[in-house]
């Protein structure tokens, strides 16, 4: 496959969106897996996480061949609508957090809450705790991983970019796992809202682009239109933050 400039204008945002989106989800999953590991040890935490990854891999392997059978226009339209719903949901939440309307996501507090819940379970079901702890780890990986799978499929399927998008997502997950193994603490300093803001902008731009393609819209500049759409979404999102901002509240952190 020869990569042209316009190929890169689609591939670069797709890989970046997959990488950044996966970074956010992997950090959230790591917080739960770490809580399980701290309370009950690495064995149930690791086994639960591995089982979750295996289920996610099975979902990807099952969905991949199905996608090839769907007509491209229909696929672009369906994925575009889902991307728009998903991306604008993230963007709206990031705007409200940046404006201080709703509180920022706090990994330290999520870690403390999960640890407390596991300790409470320990008091009630001591014998079954390894199983319950493994299940908590499994659920965290599956639930957060589903978002990663969706982002990868959504940004990758429309233009045959599943492999680069998967590589971007896998790189983010490996990076977070390595950081978690080194620091043994939730990655609270990751600027989660800024990442969600960026991913929301990119996914919304992809969503509009794919829906338009599905409807037969001849976008000016073809693939380059995605960059222009992202710039427009970013501008409107920043204006929304400025207009919705409350004094002494959130930031774009």
């Amino acid at each position: 496959m020869s990569w042209t400039f316009t190929s890169w204008t689609v591939a670069a945002p797709a890989v970046s969106a997959a990488f950044l989106g996966s970074l956010v989800e992997a950090v959230e999953a790591l917080t739960i897996v770490l809580a399980v590991a701290m309370v009950r040890g690495w064995r149930p935490a690791g086994l639960g996480a591995l089982a979750g990854l295996a289920l996610l891999a099975a979902i990807v392997l099952a969905l991949g061949p199905l996608l090839d059978r769907i007509p491209l226009h229909l696929l672009q339209l369906a994925i575009g609508i889902l991307l728009l719903l998903f991306g604008m949901r993230w963007l709206r939440k990031a705007i409200l957090r940046a404006a201080g309307v709703i509180p920022l996501h706090d990994e330290v507090s999520a870690f403390a809450q999960e640890t407390n819940e596991l300790r409470e379970q320990a008091r009630r079901h001591e014998k079954r705790l390894d199983w319950l702890a493994g299940l908590a780890s499994f659920k965290a990986v599956v639930l957060e991983g589903l978002e990663v799978v969706f982002i990868v499929i959504a940004v990758g399927a429309g233009r045959g970019l599943l492999l680069p998008a998967s590589i971007g997502a896998a790189a983010a997950c490996l990076l977070v796992a390595a950081a978690g193994l080194v620091v043994h603490r939730p990655l609270a300093r990751v600027p989660e809202n800024a990442l969600k803001f960026a991913v929301g902008v990119m996914l919304s731009a992809f969503g509009v682009f794919w829906i338009g393609e599905g409807l037969g819209v001849p976008w000016p500049g073809e693939d380059l239109a995605i960059v222009a759409f992202a710039a427009l979404f970013l501008a409107v999102a920043l204006i929304s933050v400025a207009l919705a901002r409350r004094p002494a509240l959130g930031t774009l952190r």
């Binding site: 409200l96 919304s204 427009l232």
Partner: protein, 72 residues
């Protein structure tokens, strides 16, 4: 069973959080699709409706959520 329900809830939650945002986005998409279908020579207009409609929906929804939270 509760894990399965949690997964299903999570899948739905990937796309639906604020019902009014979802309805507004779908409304814009349907409007753009109608224009594209009824006026095949004006598909670019359908694209403009889609793009600027979504941008408008984002701005209005975020500001209305901010106002709602302020009034609560």
């Amino acid at each position: 069973m509760s894990a399965l329900l949690a997964v299903l809830r999570e899948i739905a939650g990937l796309f639906v959080e604020d019902g009014s945002l979802v309805l507004a986005i779908l409304g814009v998409v349907v409007l753009a699709a109608i224009v594209a279908k009824l006026a095949p020579g004006m598909t670019l207009a359908a694209g403009a409706i889609l793009l600027f409609g979504c941008l408008g929906v984002l701005l209005i929804n975020a500001l209305s959520a901010a106002r709602g939270a302020g009034g609560a």
